[in-house]
């Protein structure tokens, strides 16, 4: 009898498929690791989590992974498939089997591995807690009536509110690989969920805290978080919204904010980036002078264009006039990003995420993520 019919208990036999997957097994106590192949029969409707359940039930009861709701709500079953973080309960196996592909399953990155596919999420939770993820309304006594927030007021934080804290966005975060203290996409998206909440009264304090050394401006814009998030939160966009709110509120002491503001200044004055002045405008004159030797090396190769006479785009007055005009229209800060989301939500996915031709398979996830390193 096939497993499919057993699970559903139905009378008609359900179509099944032969599934092969490889799993990076890891024991943090002994340090032993091994890539093991598993081949099982599974119903055609099976997702990756179903296949793991079958392996654990029938083949090897010692396999460790987290799971709970099975319906993309609890955020427990984050893991890597072929090096990219996924929710195991969201990944249908049939298209993969049909391709004849044997995926490699491993633990998520940027978190220490406890065993097999289970990671230690303590660093993740401490960053979430650092965002003070609760409403700070700014009054001591509750008002007479409850605070009513309209749908319209809540819409700007709709995407960030969808986060299920699964950790998929953190798994491949390139900044966090380099700076493990980076608050990271999940925590910062949570931060915008409160900065943008009409009932919260602590947005200035929050923005000041999120502008810390390992905060907003530590993001390298690799966009792995947007790519991986299984819920459409788009954490990188949330980080940009925090940056935009910081600039709007004049919280622009960070080098990252100064860097971003210089692009506005140079574009409205010359149309193009004034590259040579970017370093002093970002880092300040003293630091820029320290960089002189490096800069002279670049200058010899023509990499430091002379600021005078400035390279000015034709009709740059149009760019300047646009800047003046927009000042009056009050779409500053995060509102300028939120307004574009309606259009982006209407994009239909046309790609199947499949490679267009067979090339040597790259599997950045074949090594278990460096545990604790």
């Amino acid at each position: 009898m096939s497993i499919g019919t057993e699970i559903t208990g139905g009378s008609a036999p359900e179509p099944t498929m032969e599934v092969a997957i490889k799993i990076w097994r890891y024991d943090s106590q002994t340090g032993e690791r091994a890539l093991k192949l598993y081949e099982v029969e599974a119903p055609e409707w099976a997702c990756l989590l179903d296949v793991l359940d079958i392996i654990k039930d029938r083949v090897d009861g010692t396999l460790a992974y987290r799971k709970s709701c099975r319906m993309m709500i609890c955020g427990s079953c984050g893991m890597r498939m072929d090096g990219g973080a996924v929710l195991a309960c969201k990944e249908r196996m049939k298209p993969i089997v049909d391709r004849g592909h044997v995926p490699v399953i491993s633990a998520m990155g940027n978190m220490p591995i406890v065993k097999d596919l289970v990671v230690d999420m303590d660093p993740f939770w401490s960053k979430i807690r650092a965002m003070k993820p609760w409403l700070q309304p700014g009054y001591q006594e509750p008002p007479e009536r409850e605070y009513l927030a309209s749908q319209e007021q809540m819409n700007p934080i709709h995407k960030e509110a969808l986060c299920i804290m699964c950790g998929c966005c953190v798994s491949e975060c390139n900044s966090m690989e380099s700076d493990p203290d980076f608050l990271g996409p999940a925590a910062l998206a949570k931060g915008f969920r409160f900065v943008g909440d009409p009932r919260d009264g602590a947005d200035i304090e929050r923005l000041n805290e999120y502008n810390s050394e390992h905060g907003i401006w530590d993001c390298t814009r690799c966009y792995f978080c947007n790519e991986r998030c299984p819920k459409g939160v788009d954490p990188r966009d949330a980080i940009a919204k925090l940056g935009a709110e910081s600039v709007r509120q004049g919280i622009d002491h960070d080098l990252g904010a100064k860097h971003a503001k210089w692009f506005v200044t140079s574009t409205k004055t010359t149309g193009w980036l004034r590259e040579t002045e970017l370093v002093p405008k970002t880092q300040g004159i003293v630091s820029a002078i320290k960089q002189t030797k490096f800069a002279l090396g670049l200058a010899r190769r023509g990499k430091v264009p002379l600021p005078f006479p400035p390279h000015v785009a034709e009709e740059v007055r149009e760019a300047r006039a646009l800047h003046d005009l927009l000042k009056e229209q009050n779409r500053r800060g995060a509102a300028g990003i939120v307004q574009g989301e309606r259009g982006l939500a209407r994009i239909e996915r046309t790609d199947e995420g499949g490679a267009k031709r067979d090339i040597a398979e790259i599997t950045p996830g074949e090594e278990p993520a460096a545990a604790g390193s």
Binding site: T220, C222, P305, A321, G340, G343
Partner: protein
């Protein structure tokens, strides 16, 4: 205003596109511009350079003043549309993402397009109808007619040169806005290296970040990212790396000396723009390739090819 077409021989033109250089190809990476123009001529790709456009904002204006970002990009798209071409060609990952993102926002939201167009017209810019598609040079020549022409043009070949493709981020992710290829298993640079007679070198960090966006604000974090692709490419035996992005090029090429200072490792890895790599195989002139503008010498690679 919208001229400097650099078309090939009459009758040989395969496609005509509006060409957006972006900041770097206009300034510190002029070698990208000259090699792109020369390569396009060889391929019969007619470029209509946009002269009155501005910076796309490079993700920075999107973060500092997002509404201004949207309008600047709408203005670029409008002038591209005015050339009569249906395609705006970019040569930079960051320009590609910024322009495509703005384009989707406008194409999929009539209300927003209407508001932006009112503002454009107020300052004397023609309204944008939404007819342009933004494509990177890489996408135009990695398949179809462009790829066939590339194979013919690359007659001198790369003689088995081992080349490490470095994609960078914003030509792959977010794939929802870019969507040309699988962001985890891209193939286009490999296809081009092969067409040029080179041997693509595979390594995991080819799809990761070079650290450029934060190289000034967070140098240490950025260098921690930058070292990965260079080190892995070298370990995989690459003679050179190629990238479709001038920002990746700048960090991989110019910041190698900082990696050496920080880690003591001297990679001396030549870094080529996409148009330069093909240019070598297609026999472009030294004055068009402008390798003298690189910080890391390309000579060892050229010696291997006996160029």
């Amino acid at each position: 205003m919208l001229t400097t077409g650099t078309n090939g021989k009459p009758g040989n033109t395969w496609r005509r596109v509006a060409y957006y250089k972006g900041c770097l190809a206009s300034l510190s990476a002029k070698e990208l511009d000259t090699s792109t123009i020369a390569l396009a001529r060889k391929l019969g790709l007619e470029l209509e350079a946009l002269e009155s456009v501005t910076c796309c904002g490079a993700g920075d204006i999107h973060e500092a003043e997002p509404d201004y970002y949207l309008h600047l990009n709408a203005r670029i798209l409008s002038y591209a549309e005015a050339t009569g071409s249906d395609t705006l060609m970019t040569v930079c990952n960051v320009c590609t993402l910024n322009l495509r993102q703005a384009n989707w926002q406008l194409q999929k939201d009539e209300e927003l397009l209407e508001r932006v167009n009112r503002n454009l017209e107020t300052v004397g810019v023609p309204a944008y109808s939404g007819s342009v598609e933004v494509k990177h040079l890489l996408w135009l020549i990695a398949e179809g007619e462009g790829y066939e022409r590339l194979k013919q043009a690359a007659h001198k070949g790369l003689k088995g040169l081992r080349v490490a493709p470095f994609y960078g981020c914003q030509i792959l992710r977010p794939s929802k806005l870019l969507g040309f290829e699988d962001p985890d298993r891209p193939w286009s640079l490999e296809a081009i290296i092969e067409a040029c007679g080179g041997e693509p070198v595979d390594y995991p960090a080819k799809i990761k970040c070079c650290g450029f966006p934060i190289i000034q604000a967070r140098e240490e974090t950025a260098l921690g990212e930058l070292i990965q692709p260079i080190e892995q490419a070298q370990e995989a035996g690459a003679d050179a790396m190629v990238t479709p992005c001038p920002l990746c090029h700048l960090s991989l090429d110019a910041w190698q000396s900082k990696l050496k200072a920080a880690t003591g490792k001297d990679f001396s890895m030549p870094i080529l723009h996409l148009s330069q790599l093909i240019g070598v195989a297609a026999g472009l002139e030294a004055s068009e390739l402008k390798f003298k503008r690189h910080v890391v010498s390309v000579e060892p690679m050229l010696e291997k090819l006996e160029v």
